[in-house]
């Protein structure tokens, strides 16, 4: 049975406002030897599989600075301090797409990367999603909304049109959810 490591020393080594890099000096439960580990803390995230009454998924395209490419994704973003994940999901859907939905389900949650990230991404399903408002974007956000038949999504994942791992995870949770 794998045991936790003991964190003996710990400090914040870098902070850019969006995330912090922590150094942990932790000791193996087996050997007692200490090793350094670098981990990032940041807000929890949320994303939304939003479906129109006609069964189309609401996707957003945006330029992503990590990859330096335009990325096709589902709406989502960081959960604000004091905000519930569902409220963040509803807010991000509305702000990024102008859509609101009648029926919401929590599909599940994932750890974006247990090795280096401490946070959680909450995955939601929003049914009966319909356009109700204008987009409400931050100054550094430029998004384009598009609708895609849900049955085309697996092919779009396979052929690389959808590449974001958390978007792939959300669509798999949705498939598993439908099987229940």
């Amino acid at each position: 049975m794998i045991q936790p490591w003991e964190k003996r020393k710990h400090w914040v080594d870098y902070d850019c406002g969006f995330f912090q890099v922590h150094v942990h000096h932790s000791a193996s439960p087996t050997t007692g030897k200490e090793h350094p580990f670098y981990v990032l803390t940041t807000r929890d995230w949320t994303n939304v599989v939003a479906l129109t009454p006609g069964g189309k998924a609401v996707l957003v395209s945006q330029y992503r600075h990590g990859t330096g490419e335009v990325s096709l994704e589902i709406p989502g973003g960081a959960v604000d301090t004091g905000e519930l994940p569902l409220a963040a999901a509803k807010r991000e859907l509305r702000e990024e797409t102008g859509y609101e939905a009648r029926e919401w389900h929590l599909l599940g949650s994932v750890r974006p990367n247990p090795a280096i990230l401490g946070n959680t991404c909450f995955l939601y399903l929003a049914l009966d999603a319909q356009p109700t408002a204008e987009l409400d974007l931050d100054e550094a956000e430029e998004l384009e909304v598009s609708l895609h038949p849900l049955e085309e999504i697996p092919g779009m994942i396979r052929d690389g049109r959808i590449q974001h791992s958390l978007v792939v995870a959300a669509f798999y949770f949705h498939e598993i959810f439908k099987r229940k």
Copy 2:
């Protein structure tokens, strides 16, 4: 059509050896205004859905310092400099589980997080995986290998026993792959 932003200034703000934090000052193609973006560079990653001749998935448990929890995952890790992703996948399977496989397929690839990470994770399927050797772990790695019937994996994802987003993505790619 979403256009790329123009990177006007750029520097490395932090480097811990495992990843670097870059600051990009980039200008919107629409407004021309500059904004700062923080992005991480690190090696590409790979992970492996390895199946035994009896149809069981080879999983590994390990303590993960990002979440501070024991995490059940598929084998995987970083691609070394000059190494091909397939070679890294074979190496990680062997080192982390002691298994080797006869038949390999590239299931696809994902971007772990296009917003803040520039790298790619290559997802492989390894068939006819069988134990051939002892584990070969780094000093800071402690792993436990377990076998799980493939048909139980979706339930393990739904109920949170498997939480790593890149592991969830790999199993979805495997389902999509089988449908072809």
